[in-house]
């Protein structure tokens, strides 16, 4: 099962991650106008991100790519704005034909989001990402989503020790990441944990990005935001980067003020986790009604329910909700 089958609006973690992406673009907008940029992503059936990028920034150079015939047909039906091009093509074709697309869209800059769900082709995904970065110019933004679930590396077999499983999974992950595996990080099998696997993959993304700019000595690639969230079934890692002319790095920070954004990624080491609870309307109203009137600790103590049997875990989840309550989706189950 993949998270793709769950309606977008019902995935609060994913929803929050999207909201954070728009916030990031708002910062970037102060450096390079998003309105003048082209936005390219895999919009899914409902093209939600295209509605947002158009509504928030007025972007009109929009391209959605989709390889599935049925989804593509629904995209064409659901197209929220006439300027949006819904094209049936794979991410591989997008990267291979990227120069034809830039000729077609003629935008100042490009924001491209490679939204990979499958864990099967990580090496190919990173290869596409590297090749895309090679074709991007300073000022362009590239986002990649990859499946970073520990479960994609196999499961503990009956009678197998945890260490034996980790060693097996470590070898598997190394093979899956190929030459992008972060060999210099000094990782070993003990890194095969729910938090460790995304960190390894994030460094593999870094390696692919750096390979992508290897020919451009005056260009750097910087991570701007990195998040890890559960998509209903899998842990998904998203990393957004910018390509910058080295002489403009300070201008970029000065204009975007990203150093003041609490969710900005300062390096490639660790994604920020988003793990907000699934709340009923009643729960949410109860909590929101107390926010900023009392301390987070007090509110959590006063709740007549918890989010996990472990008190500390429950409090962590609660704090994560408080961090993102403004970004929480406004959709609730109606009825019991």
């Amino acid at each position: 099962m993949s998270g793709a089958d769950i309606p977008y609006q019902l995935r609060p973690n994913k929803h929050v991650e999207r909201q954070l992406f728009w916030e990031l673009l708002e910062h970037i907008d102060r450096f390079n106008s998003i309105r003048d940029a082209a936005y390219i992503s895999m919009g899914g059936r409902f093209l939600e991100d295209f509605k947002q990028v158009h509504a928030k920034f007025g972007a009109k150079k929009l391209l959605s790519i989709e390889s599935d015939f049925v989804v593509h047909e629904r995209q064409v039906f659901n197209k929220p704005i006439g300027a949006l091009i819904c094209r049936k093509m794979t991410s591989g074709q997008l990267v291979t034909d990227f120069e034809s697309i830039t000729d077609e869209l003629q935008a100042t800059n490009y924001i491209v989001w490679l939204d990979y769900a499958s864990s099967k082709d990580r090496l190919a995904q990173l290869g596409e990402f590297e090749s895309l970065v090679k074709k991007l110019a300073p000022g362009d933004i590239v986002k990649i989503t990859m499946n970073a679930s520990l479960r994609t590396l196999g499961e503990l077999k009956a009678g197998e020790t945890q260490e034996s499983f980790q060693k097996r999974a470590f070898i598997r992950l190394k093979a899956k990441l190929g030459n992008y595996f972060p060999a210099s990080a000094g990782f070993d099998h003990t890194k095969i944990t729910g938090d460790g696997v995304p960190e390894i993959i994030m460094l593999a993304i870094k390696n692919a990005a750096l390979d992508g700019i290897s020919s451009s000595s005056n260009v750097s690639v910087k991570p701007l935001a990195a998040f890890l969230y559960n998509d209903g079934f899998h842990d998904m890692l998203t990393v957004t980067c910018v390509l910058l002319d080295k002489s403009k790095q300070d201008d970029f920070i000065g204009a975007t003020r990203l150093d003041n954004w609490e969710f900005a990624a300062s390096d490639w080491s660790k994604p920020i986790k988003i793990f907000i609870p699934d709340l009923s309307l009643k729960e949410r109203v109860t909590i929101d009604g107390k926010l900023f009137g009392k301390s987070v600790d007090e509110i959590h103590s006063e709740l007549t329910f918890s989010f996990d049997e472990n008190r500390e875990t429950s409090f962590d989840i609660f704090k994560n909700y408080v961090t993102h309550y403004r970004r929480y989706p406004g959709f609730f189950r109606v009825g019991t």
């Binding site: 990267v95 291979t96 120069e99 290869g127 090749s131 090679k134 110019a137 020919s215 451009s216």
Partner: protein, 477 residues
């Protein structure tokens, strides 16, 4: 407290290092090619970089004689000037400021000749009859000199002048392993050397330079690509050109032949033959430094480009680097392989991969349907790769490269290769019919099931299937 005293430690070179160790980094073939490079650099100096026509090297030749009793290379490429011989040619490593200005030479480090001599034998005579000079001269290297720590060599002026302006280098006291390599009854080395010369000197020989090995003229390999007849065909090569770091880059990649059928690929897997002609050839100042490479150095298996596989047997490319600034070229000391940190190379690699990917994609998409591509390939003609590139470079089909901007004069042509339709493409059929008719068909197709349980789309699908069955039956009749 002890007082500080000053002294020195020995930090100079040892001749033994150069004579015994340096020669281990290069194989015999490449060492001999280095000597040929010196011949060509001599031509460049004589012509002062001016190439008046397509065959500027027509009058020039090099004759290699390699037998178990000795090695000799003789040329008419202007000889070593006396001043150069006295001041730098025999030094181990080229002094600063000695690099040829504004010439497209490849001798950059000043070690090729010495390394080749040390590689082959214990004694040598270098004779030069320099162009536009009054005297010929001779420098002798003796077995004793090879052993001692003296760094000067004796030079004799006024030796007899030969009929050509050129250099003759004769190596004697060959090492046993070298002598065996030069024995055609005992080794296939000279065959390999001939093949290497035909490959690595393909461009230079194409410009008229003649190379003889033991009296036989060696002919260059052909670097060809399919080019559209009259520029209208769909199968055309990808072309990129730019000027990076004072290096002119020109690269072209495409098909050198029609796609291989599955049966041919099976034969190829058993006995690889045709694959030898696929891959990238990289040229620096006319000198081929990589011939038909199929590895990551030329983009195979990097990024989104697949690793080389026999199915890509038809893909071939040529990358040309040219510069009068030798140190800006991606040359290594052995001139075999590439300096991967070189700026021009790193830029070229991005576009070699971009071009390569177009043709691997094309090959993959037509897999199993190769015969359907015959009409497209029939509109092409095999021409020298440089000519295939030139016909596009001179046309108005080159466009700018967004990423590189305009200051490096980057331009490229991306062919619009034809792709097959999906094997089983689907189209949506939407139509409206009277409810009564739909209910009639529902009862007919799904007897016993209430009409309300059957979706109209199911009736539509079943109707189409029935109709298709009837049509197929009628066609068979």
């Amino acid at each position: 407290m002890t007082s500080l005293t000053q002294g020195t430690v020995k930090a100079g070179p040892s001749k033994r290092f150069f004579v015994s160790m340096m020669t281990r980094d290069i194989d015999l073939k490449d060492a001999i090619l280095d000597l040929l490079d010196n011949c060509v650099d001599g031509i460049q100096r004589k012509l002062k970089g001016v190439e008046a026509n397509e065959k500027p090297y027509n009058e020039f030749w090099a004759k290699i004689t390699a037998t178990p009793s000795g090695f000799k290379i003789e040329d008419n490429c202007a000889g070593i000037p006396r001043k150069v011989a006295e001041e730098s040619a025999f030094m181990l490593g080229r002094p600063l400021g000695e690099i040829d200005e504004d010439l497209h030479t490849v001798g950059m480090y000043g070690i090729g000749m010495k390394r080749a001599i040390f590689k082959m034998g214990k004694s040598c005579i270098v004779y030069s009859n320099p162009y536009e000079e009054e005297q010929a001269f001779e420098v002798k290297i003796s077995p004793e000199w090879m052993e001692n720590e003296l760094w000067e060599l004796p030079i004799s002026y006024g030796v007899e002048r030969s009929s050509n302006f050129g250099t003759t280098l004769s190596v004697g006291d060959l090492y046993e392993s070298i002598a065996r390599n030069f024995d055609t009854d005992d080794s296939g080395f000279l065959e390999d050397l001939a093949a290497a010369i035909s490959q690595f000197y393909a461009v230079i020989m194409g410009k008229g330079f003649a190379v003889f090995l033991n009296g036989k003229l060696i002919s260059p390999v052909d670097l060809t690509l399919l080019s559209p007849i009259g520029l209208t065909g769909s199968i055309a090569p990808y072309v990129f050109s730019a000027n990076i770091d004072e290096v002119e880059i020109e690269l072209v990649v495409g098909f050198r032949r029609q796609l291989a059928s599955e049966s041919e690929l099976e034969r190829e897997a058993d006995q690889p033959r045709s694959s030898e002609d696929a891959g990238w050839t990289v040229i620096c100042n006319d000198r081929v430094v990589l011939y038909n490479d199929k590895g990551p150095l030329t983009g195979w298996g990097r990024g989104n480009v697949p690793k080389y596989h026999t199915q890509f047997i038809s893909i071939s490319g040529v990358t040309i680097f040219r510069s009068a600034k030798l140190l800006h070229l991606p040359l290594t000391t052995t001139k075999r392989g590439l300096d991967t940190d070189n700026k021009a190379y790193m830029t070229a690699l991005d576009y070699m991969m971009e071009g390569l990917k177009k043709f691997t994609d094309y090959t993959n998409r037509w897999k199993g349907r190769e015969n359907e591509t015959t009409p497209a390939f029939s509109q092409t003609i095999s021409v020298p790769a440089t000519q295939a590139a030139a016909s596009i470079l001179q046309s108005d089909r080159m466009s700018s490269v967004r990423k590189l901007g305009s200051n490096v004069n980057a331009r490229r042509f991306i062919p619009d290769l034809p792709y097959p339709e999906d094997k089983n493409p689907k189209r949506r059929i939407v139509y409206t019919r009277a409810v009564a008719e739909i209910e009639l068909l529902s009862s007919h197709f799904f007897p016993g099931t209430p009409n309300t349980n059957i979706a109209p789309s199911d009736i539509g699908i079943r109707s189409f299937e029935k109709c298709l069955d009837i049509a197929l039956l009628e066609i068979k009749k």
